[in-house]
Structure formats: C-alpha cells, structure tokens
C-alpha cells in the first residue's frame, strides 16, 4: 500500500514522543531495577527491553501502513486467532510464577492474554460502530459481544492471570458504557457481576486469594502475602519529594521489592525520583491519553472513535490499577504498567495500540 503525503503530514509527533519517553523511562528504570550490586552489573533485561522497543516501533509503523477500516474486516479473524492461542496456552503453555501464560515461539515467549486486550477492543468497535438504538443498548442487544468476551476472560482467568482478566472485563464494560448502555442494563450487569464473584474466587490460586485477603487486612501476614505491598509502600514513601536518585533506591537495590522490573517498576521509579518524578510520570500518561482523546473526538467515524477510546481504556485502567496496587489502595493482582514494565508481549501490544490510535488520527481526512 502506498503511503499518501497527506498521511505523513498528519503524523502526530507528540503522540509518538510521549510514547517513546515513557518506554525509555521504563528501560532506564528496568536497568536500575535489575542491577545487582553484588555482581556489579545489570542483568540483560534492560537491553532485551530495548530490542522489544525496536520491534514495537516496527509494529507501530506497520500499524500505520493500512487504513484502519481494514481492521473492521479482520476483527473476527484476529479475535479467533487470539482465542485459539488462549486455548493452546492451556495445553502447551509454559508455567511461570504459578500460572501458565506463555507460548514459546523459539525467539520469544508470547503471552496471548496481551493481544486479547486488543482483540476485545477490535470486536467491540466493530459491533458498536453502528448508531446505538434510541435510549441506549439493552442487554438483549448485546448478547453477541458477551458471547465474544466471556471465553477470552474465562480462559485468562484459569491460567490464572487475574490482572489481565480484570482488565479485559473493565475494558469491555467501559466500551459498552461509552457505546451507550442503558442505566438499568448497566445495573443488571453490575448485579450479575457481583453474583459471579464467588465463582471467580474459585478460579483463583491460593496465593491470589491471599493477596486479596491481605489487601483487605494487610497485617494478616506482614512477612508473607502482605510483604509485597508493605515493601512497595516503604519504597515509594521513602522517595519523599525528590527521591533517592538514580541507583539510590535501597529498597530496590537490596531486593526488598518484589518483581521490581515488572509489576513493581513504578515503586522503583518512585523511590528514585520521588513525588515530583511520580507526578511527572502520571502527567505523561495523562498527556498521552489526552492526545488520544482528541484523536477519538476528531475521528471521522464511530468505528475509529471507538477503536481509540478502547485503547485509551486499556491504558487508563492498567495505569490506575497498577499504581493503585503498588501504593496499597488496590489489591496486588499482577498488572503491568503500560510501556514501563518489563515484558515483550506487553510492550508490543501497547506499541500496536499506539500505532492504531495514530492510524485513526492520520486518516481522519481521508475518505
């Protein structure tokens, strides 16, 4: 496909810059988080993340190369592929940290629950792109999206990957609300969701149940399940206004923090850069979402707008739940911080999401 000059003139450099700044901040923090003082060197994870970022850039540019309306056509095949992969991971997936999430593809391990987020946005944008019924959608109008989303969420939950399952559910719900859901329908869903909670509880592994219990009462087990949150709060709090400086975070360097380079990368960042650094980081995320919201507002059709809004909700919920859990206001459920946390599948998915949003932005004038 040929790239129009008009398209290039609508390339949003701000969007890309914000994305790259966040990803680079992530790499810098991962370097510190995986540095071993006893060995005097960092593990190779930061450089691995650089490769992922480069691959992510390629994916992002590839996402610009086609008209996003093409996604309307491939939404269901894409969904089908992801669903198949999620099935596959149950049988041939590799286990890590007590759950079976990855499929080894030789050069890298794919985590199908990450593209599942994108898949949900695609199928919902496709389904909801037509003008909503008067007074909003009723539940009976939405049986098909439910049928699509339920297997994805359940398959993720049984891995078990509680965090991603929660993200899938909240993104689905958010998009329905944005798409136009009746209030009474929403209340019905909320009630059904609450009813489903005890069933979901059974899918959880004991360690996940413990995390939720200790969230409700952190003193239950200060050296066990509550340990992560306590150490994370100590790391963040001891950063004070200006932080301890790069490599100065003792909580991180001395390994008091768990999962420093993945789910708790924000704690490492907060310890090193303090309150001001945190505010700056959150401002970057907010700016990114603001730019994206403007794209959604200016999109030339409902499909594009829903696509972008869907991606925004992924970002939004991941940032909020991750920051909430490391600061001890939400239970530890294992959600990476978009663009910052170490992880190939996560970074790649986020770069694709950014690419798709930029795609919508570039093509708002084309017909």
């Amino acid at each position: 496909m040929q790239i129009d000059r008009r398209l290039i003139s609508h390339f949003d450099w701000t969007f890309l810059s914000l994305t790259l700044i966040l990803a680079l901040a992530g790499i810098v923090t991962i370097y510190s988080a995986t540095y071993s003082i006893t060995e005097g060197q960092s593990s190779g994870l930061a450089s691995k993340q650089i490769y992922w970022l480069l691959m992510g850039m390629v994916a992002l540019l590839a996402c610009l190369a086609f008209d996003y309306h093409y996604l309307d056509r491939i939404a269901y095949p894409f969904y089908g592929t992801v669903l198949a992969l999620l099935f596959l991971v149950l049988f041939i997936g590799t286990t890590g940290g007590g759950s079976q999430r990855w499929i080894h593809l030789g050069f890298f391990a794919l985590q199908p629950s990450e593209p599942a987020k994108v898949a949900i946005v695609l199928v919902l944008a496709k389904y909801l792109q037509y003008d909503q019924p008067r007074g909003g959608y009723r539940l009976r109008d939405l049986w098909f999206p439910f049928v699509l989303v339920t297997p994805l969420t359940l398959l993720t939950l049984v891995q078990p990957d509680l965090g991603t399952a929660i993200i899938l559910a909240v993104v689905f719900l958010s998009l329905l609300l944005i798409g136009g859901l009746r209030l009474q329908s929403f209340l019905c869903m909320a009630a059904a969701g609450l009813g489903f909670l005890p069933i979901a509880w059974r899918f959880l592994k004991p360690y996940q149940q413990n995390r939720i219990l200790t969230f409700l009462n952190p003193d239950l087990d200060p050296l066990g399940a509550g340990y992560h949150v306590i150490q994370s709060k100590i790391a963040i709090g001891s950063g004070k206004l200006l932080g301890k400086g790069y490599f100065g975070g003792t909580q991180n360097q001395l390994d008091f923090l768990p999962a420093q380079h993945t789910d708790f990368v924000f704690s490492v960042f907060a310890e090193e850069w303090g309150f001001l650094g945190c505010v700056f980081l959150l401002a970057l995320y907010f700016a990114l979402m603001g730019v994206a919201l403007r794209v959604a507002a200016r999109a030339k059709d409902r499909f594009g707008s829903l696509l972008v809004l869907g991606m925004i909700t992924i970002f939004f919920w991941q940032v909020v739940i991750n920051a909430g859990m490391v600061t001890g206001v939400l239970p530890v459920v294992g959600i990476p911080l978009p663009l910052l946390s170490y992880g190939g599948s996560s970074l790649l998915s986020m770069m694709i999401a950014v690419g798709l949003m930029m795609n919508v932005n570039m093509r708002r004038f084309t017909f």
């Binding site: 003082i37 006893t38 507002a297």
Partner: protein
Amino acid sequence: MLPVTFRTEVDPQFRRRTELLAAIAAAVFLLLIGRLFFLQIVQGDRFTYLSENNRIRLKKIPGTRGMVFDRRGQLLVDSRPSFDLLFVPEDAVDPEATLRSLARFLGQDEGELFSLLDQKKARIPFEEIVVGRDIDWRSVVTVETHQLDLPGVNLRIRPRRSYLLNHMAAHLLGYLGEIGPKQLTSLKQKGYGMGDEIGQFGLERRWEEFLRGRNGGQQVEVNALGQRVRVLHEVEDVPGNSVYLTLDRDLQETAGQAMQGKDGSLVALDVNSGAVLAMVSNPAFDPNSFARGITAEEWRGLMRDRLHPLNNRAVQGTYPPGSTFKIVLAIAALEEGVIQPETPLSCHGSMVFGNRVFRDWKKEGHGSVNLHKGVVQSCDVYFYQLGQRLGIDRIAKYARMLGLGARSGIALDDEKTGLIPDTEWKRKRFGQPWFPGETPSVAIGQGYVNVTPIQMANLIATVANGGTLYRPWFVRKVESLDGTLLQEYGPEKIRSIQLKESTLKYLRNSLSDVVNSGWGTGGRSRSNLVQIGGKTGTAQVAEMRGAYVKSEQLSYLIRDHAWFVAFAPVEKPEIAVAVLVEHGGHGGSAAAPLAKMVIEKYISLKNQPPEQQLTSKQGESHAN
C-alpha cells in the same frame, strides 16, 4: 479538561460520554497523586525510617572477657574467638538445597543437618538455628567465600570462655550465662544487651564489672536475604581486664585430684593472710559446658541432681564439725581456766548424764585422759566433761570468736552462716531454756552445731597464726590489658583474738601429736616433707538424714562425714587446710590423707628448683 470537539457525524450523546470519560480519568489521576502525596510527603519520614531499618542491621561484636591468672601468673581462664554457624530457613529460597550445599562445602553428613531442621519444627519463624558451634577455621573460611551460594546461612562470632582446669575450680571461678530478662532491665544502662553473657556465679559474677568486655558493633547494610552487603560504621570492642587470683593452679589441681570421686570440700588458706590457695567443692560441674551454651537438658540435670553440684560446698555446705570442734573446747577451757591441762579425767567408754548415756567413739574407753591425750586421741568423754564445766554460752563465745556461726565474708555469693547454739538462741528459736543435757553433744561438735568448710579452714588458720582471724580472699589484683593496675587487694583482719601464748603453744603441740605422735587419730597424714598438725573429726549424720533418704541410698547417706583440719609447718605455719568428705567415714582415714597431699604439694612447690621458679616468674611478667 481538554477541549473535545466532535465532528458532526458523531452522535452528541457519544461525545458527552467521552467528555465524561476525560473528567473521570482526570479525577482518578488526581486521587492517585493524592495517594502519592500522602505516602511520599506526609508519611515520607516514616517510610524513610522504615527503609533504613530494613537495610541496616546492627551486628554486635561481643567484647572479649578478661583473663584469669593464678598467684604465679599461670592462666586459669581464657577467652578466644569462636564462630557459630547459624541458619535461618526463612531467608533461604530452598532451605534443603542450602543445607545440601552447606553439607558439601563442609564435608558433613547432610542427614545430620536435616535432622537439626526437623528438631526445630516448632520454632518461631526467623529464629536462627545453630547448625554448628565453635566451628573450625577452615569451615569459617569456606562459609565466608560461598556466602552467595548459602542464602540464610550466617556466621556469628562469639568469644568463647575456656576454663583450663575444667571442673576442678568450677565453684570458685563460677560460670557465665546469657543475661536474663530481669537482669537486662536493671543492667541496660550499663550497656548490656539481649544475648549478652554475664557472670552468674562465683568469680565471674562478683568480678563481672572488671572482667566484662565492652561490646563493639557494626552497622551493616544487608539485602532482603539478610546477607551483608557492606559495613557502614564500626565501633571497636574493648576487652575486659585481667584478674589475678591468690589461688595456685598446681595446688588447686592437686586438691582436685585428692578429692576425685569424693563428695565434699577442701579449702586451703594462707595462714598469714587468709588468702585462698585452693578451694574444691564436689560434685562439680564443668563451666566450659556453660560457655559452650548449656542445653536445657543439661541444666535440668544439674538442677535436679540430688547432690546439688551447683552448690559451692566450701561456703554453702553446712555440716556438724564433729571432733574438729574440740579445738574450740580446748581453747575455751585453757583460756577460761576451767581445767588444768595436766589434770586427768577418767574415760570408761561412756558417760551418764541425767537419764542419757553419752558414748565415747572407743567402746572400751581411753582410761586416764588429760587435755593433751584428749585432743590427740579425740576422747569424747573428756570433752563431755569439759563442755559441762564450760557451759554452752562460753563454748559459743569462743566458737564465734574463732569465726564459726558467721559468714567468713569471702566474696562468694550465698554464703551460709552455719549455727553455733547458745541459751539465747535456744530461747528465741524454741522458746525454751538450754538444758544442760544438750551441752555434751555440742562439746563434741554434734547436736545443733553446724559449720561450713571455709569456717573450719579459717579456724585452724587462726589457731596456727596465733589468733588473727582474716577474711578469706582470693583476688590479688586486677590489671587492664596494657598492665595498668586497676585494683589491688590485701589481707583484711576481722579481729585479733587475745590468746595466751601458753594456750597456743599447748594446743599446737597437741595438734602436732595428733599427726606425728604415732598414737594420734591423724597418723595417716604424717609427712616426711613437713611437720603437719591437725585434728580429725567424724560427724554423725544418720539421725538427721535417715528419714529423707530412699532405702537403696541409705547405706551411703547414713555414713559419717569425715573431717580433717590441718596446718603446716608446725614450727612456722604457712598453710591451713580443711577437708570435708561427705559420708567418707572416719576423718583420720578418709580426710587426713587428702590434707597431707595438698600440704606436701604446697611445700614441694615452694621448694621448686630455681629454674622452675624462673619459668613461673616469667609467666608472671608475661602476664603483667
């Protein structure tokens, strides 16, 4: 909020919802920032404190305790660094794997280490398990170098007290124990901390102030596994001071050997100063086992032992003095003039007083007995009559004058007073007058009379030195490690007793004949090296103990206590010895030979060839 403008194609309801989404996002982000503000600004100091606390551990370096030397500068108690190997399973990712590598590094059997782990199943989480005590230097180096492969394994340095005489001087030197919770609250200001060792008994306890070392410490930065990353700050420990005793190591050893396998006590004093030259109490314990870290089982064993091995019998054991008490009677009689020494009294093997028959130890009697013969042959009937003539209060007066019935004042804990009865005591204790029929028993050191071995040693020393009662003492001086004299101790007179020269001369002559005449009761202590004077005693215990004793032990426990008190050389006395052998039988056969061994050792040490004296001198100058 962002200006969101929609193109006309898009439903206005849809647009409103998008604006709402932006507003919600902004609000949630503000909440997050609020949370961060709370954690980082409001509670920042608290969390900073917690993070410091997380990573900085204080590692105590116990100050080495001072050394203890004998009177000639020979080492008695030493402290050397030792390493204990500790393991905290919670710090290890895989405790069994760690133990396996530990076993491989140390060349030990892994099963043994695993069994240690099993034994401690019911422990408190994060409590250290001691997997090796006082491990050798090679193991220390191995563990240090492989620290990274051994998560949860740590070394603890600990000065280990080493008592070179083992159990032989246990009661005088005492032992150490971990500081108790009660002690800790009262001693916290003096710089004691949890887990510190403190003298709990004997010298270790009374000279704690001088002996203790000041703890040093390291501020160590540790990681989440508790492994040392670097040392931030260090305070040097200060070793304790050296204590020099009046005790003689060789003499103590001889005394210990003499008392081997016997229960009782032996005390040797310097006649002219009251300094303790040797002190034995049996059964004993090994203070090294306390230094090693006594197990609860061992401790229970010591506490439950019916023979009370932790008691220092020299000062805490009270016994009827038996015939050794006749020395008191003889002095009292001569001083009070109740009898002319040469006046003979007759002994038919028993004496009737009131409605009671008092027997002599010799059934057929001693015939015509004067004071000299009474002492030499220990004629009971003669002393029954002396007792009658003196009366209980005069006997008590002289006994007390000579240090009986009161604490000797030696710097050892829980000394017993013993008991010297008189009419006032009887009235107070029982509300009854003293019956004259009770006096004969007292006259031969039975009845209510109870004394400690150190009192008897002090008594014979006082007789030997001509009437000066000293407070027994055993610490000569305290020096700091660089040789500065911190404290010096010397003889301390309790009182000078004015005794007639004739009394002393007569008595010493009699006591010499007890040993040397050939017909005295103490012939078994006659020595070719030196002229010894002394008095035997055989104290009955049957009536008092019989009721409490199990039948199978009855035969041992109803046997008499054997006493012997002695001094030497008779001409110019230097050393006084009191020996008590519990249930040893006759003083002349069971106790007298032991006193002889100690006295002969004392004389031979004094007459050491010059070059040997030189080495011991060198020892002293080295110690200085």
